[in-house]
């Protein structure tokens, strides 16, 4: 009997709970306006991928950099290509051999934990970047042939490099070489970057919730802004929340429901519609870097042949590519670096323009004859290309589909391999591919050219063209070492001409960085490279 009672009670309770849920849903205030309450002093910003860590000196994620720029102060700022302005360093000098950089540091700067910023902090930060246990990604690349930091006085440091390194000021202007608090590094150990991230910037990390939201709160003691900004003292916005919203249609929808006031990576699909939307401001900045391009493996048949690589370049309709895949919101690619990079050579743009007839002729002359199945053959070998890409690369499927169709027109068969990152990197590092995508965003020409064309990266590294050329190597070394701007510019142009005449890569499209925000947001700053929107001067009005 007791058991039966309990059973009945349980059922009744279950029923009651269901009823309560039903009742709860009727208590919804259906009349609530779409806007969720947002105070004027707080900004919510929608990001796409989200960071894995907040430690800028470890990560490779642009989103960590975007958030991190608010948390750190770079040593120098780069308001336009190749021009530098004071950041944490008030002045600096570069030795003639580009091996030693001397920085005079701003005084009375404090980390978020109250400890003072000084030369020792720079030494601790940079020494940590090159320590293998830190597993630093971008910062390790940016710090180049770093040897040591010499603390000359509390506010003077000298950075020594093993080899001449002309790209260091550019590197120091990115968020990734931001200076962190040595006290906090000691205190948090391996938890630095997830539990806490302590630096000197206008904002402090309040909470870090991966895949969801990173909340920054204004640094009330901030009084060391760079003169390139419009005001001094603490930032205007009290709080900035960075929300991680991977699905692009949803990210855009949140701007319209006012769950966010600013979004990054605006879908190009919606570009035209947003352009005519009077409530939304679109920001478009050509993204500095390499643009989207195609690497061609010179160690695997048939892309070993210069004629085949040239024919591939000629067969790709870059104008159609931009229109179809990128909805017209990009420029057809023309060279290994984007036009806004220092030293870009506009003459490279005319080379290899779309010409399928010439492409066919070139293959014909090289002995590739059309077979019965529409694919060319030579000595019994089909003109078949293995194309590897991975699913995290933006719009890789669409880009590959387009290229495959273009190459088919001239009689090439392309086999697509869309892999998870593990399989992809295993394949391209060992050269199993004929073709793979490349994209990089950075602002120094030396680093960009080095990655793609230097033979030291051809050994399972980022030079997946497996292009090895002693002359090119030497020129790239010179670009990396040359601090004189005019000489450097000529060298950069020479490298571009050289790799274009060797038909190393095919250049597809130069993307635009697209940001959108609701009217009412003013005082936005974005770096010239297009990657880092910065909200120090930003205000919101309702």
């Amino acid at each position: 009997m007791a058991v039966r009672m309990r059973r009945r009670e349980l059922l009744r309770k279950a029923g009651w709970n269901l009823g309560a849920i039903a009742l709860g849903s009727q208590l919804v205030d259906w009349g609530r306006p779409p806007a969720l309450a947002q105070s004027g002093a707080a900004l919510t910003c929608g990001l796409a991928m989200g960071p894995e860590t907040m430690d800028v000196t470890v990560t490779t994620s642009s989103d960590t950099g975007r958030i991190g720029l608010h948390l750190v102060d770079p040593l120098v700022w780069q308001p336009s290509a190749g021009r530098y302005a004071p950041g944490l360093a008030t002045s600096w000098s570069v030795s003639a051999d580009a091996k030693t950089y001397t920085f005079k540091l701003r005084e009375n700067v404090k980390f978020h934990d109250g400890t003072p910023f000084n030369g020792d902090a720079i030494k601790a930060t940079f020494d940590r970047v090159v320590n293998p246990d830190t597993k630093s990604q971008l910062a390790f690349n940016f710090i180049g042939p770093y040897e040591r930091t010499e603390v000359v006085g509390p506010s003077i440091v000298r950075i020594h490099f093993k080899e001449p390194y002309a790209a260091f000021l550019d590197a120091a202007s990115t968020p990734y070489l931001g200076i962190v608090s040595p006290a906090a590094l000691a205190k948090y150990g391996k938890d630095f970057g997830s539990v806490a991230f302590v630096s000197t910037g206008p904002y402090m990390m309040q909470s870090y919730r991966p895949d969801a939201e990173i909340v920054l709160v204004r640094n009330p003691n901030y009084n060391w802004a760079s003169p390139i900004f419009k005001h001094q003292g603490p930032a205007y916005l009290e709080r900035i929340s960075f929300r991680i919203i991977p699905e692009e249609a949803v990210r855009l929808a949140t701007l319209q429901t006012r769950e966010t006031q600013f979004i990054v990576n605006v879908p190009t699909r919606d570009y035209q519609r947003l352009k005519s939307d009077r409530n939304i401001v679109l920001v478009e900045i050509p993204q500095a870097g390499t643009g989207y391009s195609l690497m061609m493996n010179e160690q695997r048949n048939p892309t070993t042949e210069l004629a085949v690589r040239r024919a591939i370049q000629l067969a790709i309709d870059r104008v159609g590519f931009v229109k179809t895949v990128w909805d017209g919101v990009a420029k057809p690619g023309c060279g290994p670096i984007t036009p806004n990079i220092f030293g870009f050579d506009p003459k490279t743009c005319g080379e290899g323009a779309y010409n399928p007839e010439q492409s066919k002729r070139m293959l014909e002359d090289a002995g590739w004859k059309l077979g019965a199945d529409g694919v060319r053959q030579k000595n019994g070998q089909r003109l078949s290309l293995e194309f590897y890409f991975h699913n995290r690369f933006p719009r890789s499927q669409e880009m590959a589909t387009f290229i495959q169709a273009n190459l088919k027109v001239v009689g090439m068969d392309t086999i697509l391999h869309n892999l998870a990152p593990g399989g992809y990197f295993a394949a391209v590092r060992t050269g199993q591919q004929n073709l793979n995508f490349w994209w990089e965003t950075a602002t120094d020409p030396g680093l960009l050219l080095d990655e793609c064309f230097a033979s030291r990266h051809a050994n399972g590294g980022t030079n997946r063209n497996f292009y090895r050329n002693a002359q090119t190597d030497q020129m790239i070394q010179q670009v990396l070492a040359e601090a004189n701007p005019q000489k450097r510019k000529d060298l950069v142009a020479k490298v571009q001409q050289k790799v274009i005449s060797d038909a190393v890569m095919a250049y597809l499209a130069d993307p635009l960085s697209l940001y959108a925000y609701g009217r009412g947001l003013t005082g936005l700053w974005v770096d010239w490279g297009g990657n880092y929107p910065y909200f120090y001067d930003t205000r919101l009005s309702s």
């Binding site: 692009e248 159609g320 589909t401």
Partner: protein
């Protein structure tokens, strides 16, 4: 009945695809990009100017085939396990059920991703994973059906006249577990088509440019506000087919399970 007719229509349309449409499912035609439905392109064109109807018709082959593969695999693995487990009982039962439990503790997505990672991403490999991870459910259902069938007197009678075990299992017990297998199987074909769509969303489904319904839907989702037809029609195709398969399953079950006949 309706289900059967619908399914036959879908299959016929699939087989006759090259005759039903003048377009090539793969060839790009940038000048015809994102045309709305009209007299030339009944269901419009996609971002590459490919005819949506053609892509759906050709995609049906892949989708139906993968659905069938997944379910057949699940049945081939799961049914013998369930039969043996339920019929023999004892140690065999306990071992098999532990194995089933272990398989069920593994998130299906883990298995799918691992198989795709090892064998390379193709829809077929993904369906292997879907099939394997669905098999424990068949084993469990079959086992419980066997347990409820075994005490019946016709089994005892068969044993009494000296029938071999495998013969009893095949001739007397299996027919009695057909109904739940059919129901699960028809749901499973539908589920596999949907699972393929989910894998496409994660970028691990059908390889481009091969048309497959889930991939069509997944790729079209970013055009919902600008070109609704790219994703909507593949979605409807999935819906109609899933509906047809399920109605057919219901019909079959009513025929196979005399108890449920009204």
């Amino acid at each position: 009945m309706l289900g059967g007719v619908l399914l036959v229509l879908v299959i016929v349309a699939t087989l006759l695809a090259p005759l039903l449409t003048p377009y090539n499912p793969l060839a790009l035609s940038p000048t015809d990009r994102m045309l709305p439905p009209g007299p030339h392109h009944l269901l419009g064109t996609d971002e590459f100017g490919r005819d949506v109807l053609t892509r759906i018709l050709f995609g049906a082959r892949t989708s139906l085939r993968t659905g069938l593969v997944a379910v057949s695999l699940a049945i081939v693995i799961g049914v013998p396990m369930g039969l043996a487990s339920g019929f023999y009982g004892g140690l065999i039962d306990r071992l098999l059920m532990r194995l089933v439990d272990l398989m069920l503790t593994f998130p299906g997505i883990l298995l799918a991703l691992v198989i795709v990672a090892i064998l390379g991403p193709s829809l077929f490999n993904a369906m292997l994973a879907v099939g394997i991870s669905a098999s424990p459910t068949y084993a469990r259902v079959v086992r419980s059906s066997v347990l409820s069938t075994k005490p019946h007197f016709f089994v005892e009678a068969a044993q009494a006249i000296g029938c071999r075990n495998w013969r009893i299992m095949l001739r007397h017990i299996l027919p009695n577990v057909v109904a739940p297998i059919v129901v699960l199987g028809t749901l499973g074909v539908a589920g596999a088509i949907i699972a393929a769509a989910a894998l496409s969303f994660l970028g691990l489904g059908a390889q481009p440019p091969e048309p497959e319904w889930g991939a069509l839907l997944s790729e079209g989702r970013n055009f919902l506000l600008d070109a609704w037809w790219i994703a909507t029609f593949p979605g409807l195709a999935i819906m109609v087919t899933v509906l047809a398969i399920n109605l057919l399953g219901d019909g079959l079950r009513d025929v196979l399970d005399p108890q449920l006949r009204t």
